[in-house]
Symmetry: C2
Subunit: 282 residues, 2 copies
Amino acid sequence: MAELNQFYQLVTIADTGTLSKAAEIVHISQPALTRSIQKLEAEWNVTLFDRQKNKITLNQTGELAVQYARRILDDVNTMTNAIQSYERSLRTISIGSCAPGPLLELLPELTERFYGMTLASETVCVENLLPGLSKGIYQLIITDTEVTAPDVLCCPFCSEQLYLTVPPAHPLANRKDGIYLEELAGETMLLFKEIGIWKNRVISKMPQTKFILQDQDEAFSALIQASALPAFASDLTLKHNHHRGEQTHRLTLPILDPEAHVTFYCSAPKSHKAYLPGQRSL
Amino acid sequence: MAELNQFYQLVTIADTGTLSKAAEIVHISQPALTRSIQKLEAEWNVTLFDRQKNKITLNQTGELAVQYARRILDDVNTMTNAIQSYERSLRTISIGSCAPGPLLELLPELTERFYGMTLASETVCVENLLPGLSKGIYQLIITDTEVTAPDVLCCPFCSEQLYLTVPPAHPLANRKDGIYLEELAGETMLLFKEIGIWKNRVISKMPQTKFILQDQDEAFSALIQASALPAFASDLTLKHNHHRGEQTHRLTLPILDPEAHVTFYCSAPKSHKAYLPGQRSL
DNA sequence: GTAAGTTACGAGCGACGTAAAAATG
DNA sequence: CATTTTTACGTCGCTCGTAACTTAC
C-alpha cells in the first residue's frame, strides 16, 4: 500500500525540485528517498518523473499525483486536528455564565465531581448563552432566568445578594442595615469589569456614580484592600473569599434594592445531564 | 506519522468489531494489530477505544476517526485510479472517426510513428467528434468536413470513393463503367453496420433497396465471399484487403453519384499536433 | 570540481509472529 | 473451555545510511 510518508516525500520533492534537498527535509538520506519514490512508482506501475542522468523532473502523471497527494495530506492534517480537539472537548466542560458569582459555587463542585476533566468557564453576555449551548460551545450555562428549550434541562441553582463593602472609616460604615443604590450618587467606586448581568441590573441605574474599572481578578482584590473607596461584593464572593482565608477589615452593607438579589438557573443539554449541579439554598 | 495502513486497520476493526477478525483480514497477527493501534493512539495522544479486559469498543473519538479514515482511504483510492488511468491515457491515442475507411489508412501510420503507444479507435456519430476532442475523449478525430475550432488543428487527410462489388455472375457485372445508386432499387445487399456517415450520405437515399446488416468485421468478409449478393466497398477497403493478401473474384463498379465520394479531414488539439498524419492523395 | 541521481552492500532497528497470561461468559 | 485482548520475547526483514559510480554543468 502507498503510504502517507511517500506522499509527503513526493510533495517535498515537488516543492524543492531535487531529491537531495527533499531528502534533507524529510530526514532521510538521498538514496533512501530515491528508493522510496521508485517503490511508489512500482506500486502504482506508473512513471512519475522524467529521469535524466543527474536530474529528475516531475512528468504530467507526477504533477497529477502531487496535486492529489497535497490534498490528501491536507485532509489527514485536518483529520488529526479534528480528532485531537474532539478528544480534548470530551475532556473539557465548558461553562458559560451570565455572572461571575455562581461560578464560584459551581466550579469547586464540578472539579470534585468530574476529577480529571478540564473546566473552562467564562462570563459572557446572557444572550449568547443558550445559542452557545445549542452549538456545543458550552455544555453548561448559568442564566438569571429559567431556560425552556427542547433537549435542554434547566434547574434553579443558587441566588446572589449584592453588598456594598466599605472601610470602617467610610462615612457609610454605620449603615449596617443596608443602603439603596441611589444613595451612592456622587460616590466613586471600585468595580470589577466582568460582572455580566450586574452591569444592566445595577450599574446602568447609577448614572451619578463614578466607577474605576479593573479587569484583573487579583489586582482587583489588592486594590480593594488598599483603597478607601466603596465597592460591590456579594454573599457568594464573600463566602468564597472567606473560604480562601482572605482577611478583610471592610464592612458589608446589604443593598436593599430588589435588583440586588438574583436567582440563577443552570442548564445543560440532556446529553450532558450529569453536569447539572445540586441546588443550593435560594 | 500516521500511515494509511493504520487507517485501513482502524476501519477494518470498525467493520468487524473485534481485533481478531480484523487481524485476519489485514493479514497480520492479532497482537501486531493491537500494537499498531496502540501506536496510532500514542501518535495522536488520544484514546480511540473503550478497553475492557477482553473486549474493545470504539469510543466517540474512535468513531470520528473511523469516519475520517474511511473518507481518506476512499480519496486515496480515487487518487490511484486517477493517476493510473491518466498514465494509461498518456500512452493511448484515442481516435474517433465518422467512417471506418480512413481508419484503415490512419492506424498503420500511427502504429509505425508511435511505436509503444496504444491505439484506440471507434466509428461514431459525426456530431460527437468535436465535443469528444474538446473533452479529451479523443486526441484525434476524422470528419467529413473541415473543422474550425480554437486550439484545434485540422488538415485534409484522404478521400474515399464508394464501389459496388458483385460476383462475376451477377446481372450488374457488366457495368464496369459504374452505376448509380438508384439502379439498386429492389436489390438485396449485404451491408456492414458501422459505416458512420455513409448511412446518411448513401443508405438513407436508397429506400427501395433491402439491406442485410452485419456488425462483425470478419463475419462480414466471410459473408461477402460466400454470397452472391452485391455489397459496398471503397477504394480504401479494397486497398486494405489487397494489402492483407485477401483474394476475391468479385468485380468492383464505381458508384457514380456525387455522394459516393468523400474527402476526410483529420483534426487534433494543438497540444497533440504530432498525432496529425501526412496528407494522402485526394 | 561540484552537485545530483542511481546502484550496491552491509547493519541496525522495528515490526512481526509465537507464546504466555489474564479475563470474560 | 473457548474467545478475546494484552504483554513478553526472540527473530527476521525491511529500510536505512555509507560508499562507489556516472553524468552534467
